[in-house]
């Protein structure tokens, strides 16, 4: 592999990263702006962070988003895992192709359509729009993502592990909880985190299915921006970025350490 730093390489890297990160850097920089005018630098200040925590509307929206995220991600993880289990284990039931297609269709369905159809459903059954409907909508949205993540793990799962457990005297339910679940747990956790992130991030479906008193953070930010961008919003977004970045960094460090540990273990095993 050619590893020299040619001028062309440097230029493309700089351009690429600038394209990706310049908007975010600007947002972070202006969140520390003293001035109320978003695009004019008036000196360094953290006052917008302080005022952020006194903005009851934003704080409420954050709380709603967190609750919707945790509940919908948890339910979606249970349902998605069950769907993945069914799809990988019972490969010969009638209508399997249809079923798997239907589980994965929401992955490519335009969010506007998902949102609209859910709205129609909630109206039809007379469900008042609010916290419950947003949560249900987010379960619908994220369940298929969980199913995909868990299914990809289950495909490589060695079925003889379960057979061995049963052979040693464990009934099927015990086998599932003592063997299958612990082995696929990392995939289930990543599925949950993916579902939580998607729920945190969603604006379109929430706009369709939410009602009074259940405004999520993205909805709140969006509506405030329409009245004019304030440095307060920049501060809120910076905190969101920080939370996501810390999560990603912790996850990758943990992953890296596990990998190193595994290599050390394998070397130890080779030595005997």
């Amino acid at each position: 592999m050619n590893s020299t730093w040619s001028r062309f390489n440097i230029t493309s890297i700089v351009l690429g990263f600038a394209f990706l990160y310049l908007p975010i850097v600007l947002l972070i920089v202006f969140s520390f702006n003293e001035s109320k005018l978003v695009t004019v630098w008036g000196g360094f200040s953290t006052k917008w962070y302080v005022s952020l925590f006194h903005n009851q509307g934003l704080m409420d929206a954050t709380w709603v988003t967190a609750r919707v995220g945790v509940i919908s991600a948890t339910v979606a993880t249970v349902l998605g895992t069950l769907a993945a289990l069914t799809l990988t284990r019972f490969t010969r039931f009638r209508g399997r192709v249809l079923f798997s297609g239907m589980v994965f269709a929401p992955l490519v369905m335009p969010e506007v359509i998902t949102g609209l159809s859910l709205l129609l459903l909630f109206v039809a059954v007379g469900l008042d729009r609010g916290f419950l409907t947003v949560t249900l909508a987010h379960i619908t949205l994220t369940m298929c993502f969980v199913a995909v993540v868990v299914q990809s793990r289950l495909v490589s799962f060695d079925r003889s592990l379960e057979e061995a457990a049963m052979d040693l005297g464990a009934p099927p339910v015990k086998t599932f909880f003592q063997i299958t679940l612990p082995v696929i747990l990392p995939a289930i956790i990543s599925g949950w985190m993916l579902a939580f992130t998607l729920s945190l991030d969603d604006l379109v479906i929430a706009s369709f299915t939410s009602g009074p008193g259940a405004t999520t953070l993205p909805m709140k930010i969006y509506s405030q921006v329409r009245l004019g961008v304030t440095p307060e919003i920049n501060a809120a977004c910076t905190i969101l970025i920080a939370v996501v970045a810390v999560g990603v960094i912790i996850a990758s460090i943990a992953n890296k350490r596990r990998e190193i540990q595994r290599q050390l273990d394998e070397q130890a095993a080779q030595r005997g």
Binding site: L168, G169, A170, V183, A269
Partner: protein, 379 residues
């Protein structure tokens, strides 16, 4: 006393008409959709026997083992264990344990937890579990690895953990699915003898599935040769090798030369065969093929002697030319092209360092063999 093969077997319940069968496959058939994996198969295995199911992949041997373990139910027929019909009994209630080809060690548990798993399922008290686990670790010489997880072990160590886990519950029968398949050649040979010792020590009945004939020959008391869901022959390793029941078995185990021919004359003591191209072969080992029937004469390469001159005392001798020679150290392999065009494989043990009668490519040579050296098989 004459016997087939060089090992005298004192343990031979299969020759005793009063011996009680331990495992019985009674007209068992297993179908997967249109595919018949096991076809109307009957087989009897005795207590404390080391029994091998040998066959190419897809011959139904693994299916047979999985039906015994309870992972598959027969489509027809019965499987009896110690007189009890196993139909409908789930795997977790059967008194058999299995060692899996992939070992199937639980990756999230340590070695001792893996071994203890089965014991805990049957509700054994904690102190007894600990004692049994320690015993098992000692048996497979892995005491210092008790706290390790499977990925921290080498292939051979994993194999021994899998073995310890499957015998920990003292099953009536231990099923082994290609137990040595994942080990390298040297380790495999060592482990073969370890397995035999273990079987003796624990006094268990072992049923092993393998595609490796050497493995089956080394370890088993009896071997069942399988093909396309049917048993071709069940016999001791020596009988399988020296008295194969069919062309398939003779071909499947070891090397063999086949001469097609007709029975020219049949008396109580000898059978005279005329080969397709006129060669005469005399056999005196009790074939009952009637005169005039089409047969094949099968003879193993090491039973054939190669010499530059026709041996004076030879009953069966055929002339040809050395076509290929390979010196392997412990033995030399000759390919001789007979005058009728057939190529014969012969192998000679290099019992001494020097030889009086060296042969090389294109030499004229005689192949000779005793009248009891080969067997007559149906065509």
């Amino acid at each position: 006393m004459k016997s087939l093969g060089s090992i005298r077997r004192d343990f031979a319940p299969w020759n005793d008409p009063n011996a009680k069968p331990y495992i019985q496959f009674d007209k068992v058939t297993k179908k997967f959709g249109d595919f018949t994996a096991v076809n109307n198969l009957s087989l009897t295995i005795f207590e404390r026997e080391f029994f091998a199911l040998l066959g190419a992949s897809g011959c139904g041997k693994s299916t047979l083992l999985r039906m015994l373990a309870g992972f598959e139910e027969p489509s027809a027929g019965r499987i009896l264990l110690d007189g009890q019909d196993l139909r409908g009994i789930p795997p977790y209630k059967r008194p058999v344990n299995m060692m899996f080809q992939s070992y199937a060690l639980f990756p999230h548990m340590t070695v001792e937890k893996n071994i203890a798993f089965g014991l805990k399922q049957e509700g054994m008290p904690g102190a007894d579990v600990e004692k049994r686990v320690a015993e098992m670790l000692k048996l497979v010489k892995l005491e210092q690895f008790a706290k390790r997880k499977p990925h921290q072990l080498s292939g051979g160590q994993r194999q021994r953990v899998a073995l310890a886990r499957s015998v920990a519950k003292r099953p009536k029968v231990l099923l082994l699915d290609e137990p040595l398949g994942a080990l390298d050649k040297k380790l495999r040979e060592e482990t073969q003898f370890e397995l035999m010792d273990l079987q003796q020590e624990l006094g268990l009945t072992f049923v092993v599935v393998t595609h490796d004939q050497e493995e089956a020959m080394t370890m088993a008391d009896r071997i069942a040769i399988m093909d396309k869901g049917e048993v071709m022959q069940v016999a001791t390793p020596a009988e399988i090798y020296e008295a194969p029941a069919s062309r398939f078995v003779a071909h499947f185990v070891g090397n063999v030369n086949m001469f097609e021919g007709k029975v020219a004359e049949h008396t109580t003591s000898t059978t005279r065969i005329t080969g397709a191209t006129g060669a005469q072969i005399v056999v005196d080992n009790g074939s009952n093929a009637a005169a005039g029937s089409d047969i094949v004469f099968a003879i193993r390469p090491e039973k054939i002697r190669v010499s530059s001159k026709k041996p004076a005392d030879a009953v069966n001798a055929l002339e040809g030319e050395i076509y290929d020679v390979a010196y392997l150290g412990d033995m030399t392999v000759y390919h001789i092209k007979l005058d009728d065009g057939q190529i014969v494989r012969a192998s000679a043990l290099n019992a001494s360092r020097v030889t009086e009668d060296p042969l090389t490519w294109n030499d004229r040579a005689w192949v000779s063999f005793r009248p009891d050296a080969g067997v007559v098989l149906a065509r």
